[in-house]
C-alpha cells in the first residue's frame, strides 16, 4: 500500500471528505494528505453541505449514510445550486439500483465498502483530472511521450509507427491515456472498459494489460505502461 502513497503523481487537490465515522475519516484523510492533497473533513451532512457551499474544492468524497442529511441529498442540493464539483460516493450498498441512485443524484463515481485505500485514492485523483480538463472541447487525441492515439480514427502510433490493436485493447489504452499520469486500478478498468461490477478472482485484467504492453512498449527503450504494485497501472512519461 505504501507504493500508492509514494506515487503522488497527480496534481494537488483540495478535497472535502464528508464521513461520520471518525476513525475511517482520519484514515482516509491521512492517506489523501500523504498523497499530497489538502483535505477538509465534515462529520455530518448539514455541516458538509455548508462547507461545500463556502469552499472551493476539486472533489467531494461523500459517505451515503450521514447524520442530519444523507449523502445523496447533500449532493443533490449542491447540484441544484449549480455546483459541478466531481463527487465520489462511499457506500455499503453496492447493488445496481444503489449505484444508479448515486449517479442520478449527480455522483461521478461510486465505491462500495469495504475497499482498499489505493482504490479510493486512484478514483479520487481520476475525478480531479476530470475537472481540470476543458469542459467545452471534447478531446479526441491523446499523447504520452511518443505514444499517440486518435479516438476518432481509432489509430495508435508510437514514434510515428502505426500499431494495430484489437477493439478492446484500444478501449483499454484509451482509458489509460485519458487518465495519463494517474493510477488506474483493476476494478476501475473492469468497470469502465468492460462495464462489469465484480471482482474476478483470477488475473484476467493483468493478462489484458500485459498483452497491450507487449504491443505498445515492446521494442522501445522506455516503457510507458507501468505497474504500480498493490494499486494498479498507469501510463506516464515519468521514470
Amino acid at each position: 500500500m505504501t507504493g500508492a502513497f509514494l506515487y503522488g503523481i497527480a496534481s494537488l487537490m483540495r478535497i472535502l471528505l464528508i464521513e461520520d465515522d471518525d476513525e475511517a475519516a482520519a484514515f482516509i484523510a491521512k492517506g489523501l494528505r500523504d498523497a499530497g492533497h489538502v483535505v477538509d473533513h465534515a462529520l455530518d451532512g448539514e455541516t458538509g453541505h455548508g462547507m461545500a457551499a463556502a469552499g472551493d474544492y476539486d472533489a467531494y468524497v461523500i459517505d451515503r449514510m450521514l447524520p442530519k442529511m444523507n449523502g445523496v441529498d447533500v449532493l443533490k442540493r449542491r447540484r441544484d445550486e449549480g455546483d459541478e464539483t466531481p463527487a465520489l460516493f462511499l457506500s455499503a450498498l453496492g447493488e445496481v439500483d444503489d449505484r444508479v441512485t448515486g449517479f442520478q443524484a449527480g455522483g461521478d463515481d461510486y465505491l462500495v465498502k469495504p475497499y482498499a485505500f489505493s482504490e479510493l485514492l486512484a478514483r479520487v485523483e481520476s475525478l480531479g483530472k476530470r475537472r481540470n480538463a476543458a469542459p467545452t472541447a471534447v478531446t479526441t487525441r491523446y499523447a504520452v511521450a511518443d505514444l499517440e492515439i486518435d479516438v476518432l480514427t481509432r489509430t495508435v502510433r508510437r514514434a510515428s509507427q502505426k500499431i494495430d490493436l484489437q477493439p478492446r485493447e484500444f478501449r483499454l489504452l484509451e482509458y489509460l491515456m485519458r487518465h495519463a499520469g494517474q493510477v488506474v486500478t483493476r476494478t476501475m478498468l473492469l468497470e469502465n472498459v468492460w462495464e462489469y461490477h465484480f471482482d474476478p478472482q483470477t488475473n484476467v485484467i493483468d493478462v489484458h494489460i500485459s498483452r497491450l504492453r507487449s504491443k505498445i512498449d515492446k521494442g522501445f527503450d522506455r516503457p510507458l505502461l507501468k505497474t504500480i504494485r498493490g494499486a494498479g497501472y498507469t501510463i506516464s512519461d515519468d521514470d
Binding site: 447493488e95 462489469y196 471482482d199 478472482q201 483470477t202 493478462v207 500485459s210
Partner: protein, 472 residues
Amino acid sequence: MFRLLRTTSFQLTLLYMLLFAVAVGVLGLYLFRTTLGAVDDQIDNTIDKDMEVLAEIFAEKGEKTLLEELDDRSKWRDGGLYMLVRAPSGALLAGNLTALPPEALTADEDFFEFSYERDRVDEAGAVVGVESRRGRGKIRSFSTRTDDDAPFLVLTARDSSDRDLLSARLRTVIVQTAIAVVMTGLIVGLLFSRTLLRRVDAVNRTARAIRGGDLTRRIRITGGGGELENLAVNLNAMLDQIERLMTGMKEVSDNIAHDLRSPLTRIRNRLAEALDADDAVRDAALAAAQAEAERMISTFNALLSIARIESGEGAGVMEPIDVNSVVEEMAELYEPAAQDAGFHLSVKNKPAHPVQGSRALISQAVANLLDNALKYAEGGERIILSVGETPEGAVSLSVADDGPGVPDKDRDHVLQRYVRLEASRTTPGSGLGLSLVSAIARAHGARLYLKNALKSGRGLRVALVFPPAEAA
C-alpha cells in the same frame, strides 16, 4: 358467543335480516289490507243489494210480502241479519235480531257495526246456549208513496265475526312469518359467522404463534377453494419467504462469524508479533496482516453478494438477456488469462432464446465458473464455454474443462459454502465461488448441474439450465 355477535359477518347478516323483516312486514300489511278490504267490500255489497231487494218488495208487493220475506230470510242462518220495526212504536215485526242495536240510532245512512247475541246451535239444530257475535249493517226507513210518515224501519246486516276471525288469523300468520324470518336469519347468521370466525381464528392463531417465535407454523389449507383459501395460500407463501430470509440472515451471520474469526485472530497475532520485533520481521508481519485483511474483504464481499442475491434484493431488474452475447463477452475477457494459464478457451454458441434475468449476475456466474476452471482444472488444456437449447426450449449455459474433475461423492458437497476440496487447499480463494453461482442460479429459477465432461470420467462440466421463457 358474545364474540360471535360482534363479528362483521354477523352484523352484516343482522342488517340483511332486518331489511328482510321490514320487507316481509310491508308485504304482510299490504296482504292484510287488501284481503280484509275485499271481504269488507263483499259484505257491504251484499247489504246494499239486500236493502235494495227489500225496498223493491215493499214498494211493489207491500208490507205483508216484506214481512213474509224477512221471516223467511231470518230462518236461513246464512249470516244475514234482519229486523223490521214499526216506526213510531218500535214494535218488532219480523227478523232474527231481538233488539235494535244502539249504534243503529246514530248511524243515519252509513254502515255501522254492532254486537248481538244469538243462539248457539249444535249439529242437530238444538239450541245449546247463547253466543255474542259482531255484525255490520244499515238501517233505512221504508215508506209508501201515499204515506209520508215512515211506517217501518228495516235493518239489514251481515254477521262479521268471521271477518274478524280472518283478520285475527291473518295478523297471526304475518307476525309468525316475521318471527320465523328473523329467527332463521339469526341462526343462519350465527352459523355463517361461526364458520368464518373459525377460519379467521386459524389465521390469527398462526400469526400469534409466529409472533411468539415459531416461524415454521403455517395456516391450514382446507382445500375448499374460495377467497379465504386464496388469502391463506398467499399468507403462507409470504411466511415461506420471510422464513427463507430469516434463515438466510442467520446463515450469513453464522458464516461471517465462522469465516472472519480465524483471519481476525491471525491478523491480531501478526500485529502482536510485529510490536516487538526488528524492522525486517515487522515489515513481513505487517505485509502478512495486510494480505490477510485483503482476503477478508473479498470473502466479506462475496458473502454479502450471496446474501443479497438470495434475498432477491441483489437481482435487480430482470429483463430479457441474450446469453449468446454474454458468453461472447466473457470469453473475450477471459481468453488472454486462459491462454496465460495454458488453456485453449473456445466458445460453442448455438442460437438460444433470450433468458429472463440480470445481465450483471449471469456474467458474474460465468466469470466465477471460468475462474474456477482456471484455478482447479490443473493439467487440463481446454475450456469450452457453450450455450444451447434443450429440446424442451430451456436455455443451457455451460463451462467445461478437461482437468481432474470433481469426484462423484463430492458433487453436492462443493455447492455448499466454504467447501474447497482437499486438493485445492493451497490455491487462493474464499470457497464461495460456486455458492455464488448457485445463488445466482436460484435467483433465476435456473438449475445447476455438475457432471463429468469426458467419458473417461475426467473433466468438469458445470451447466446452468434456465427455465424456458414464457411464450411472449
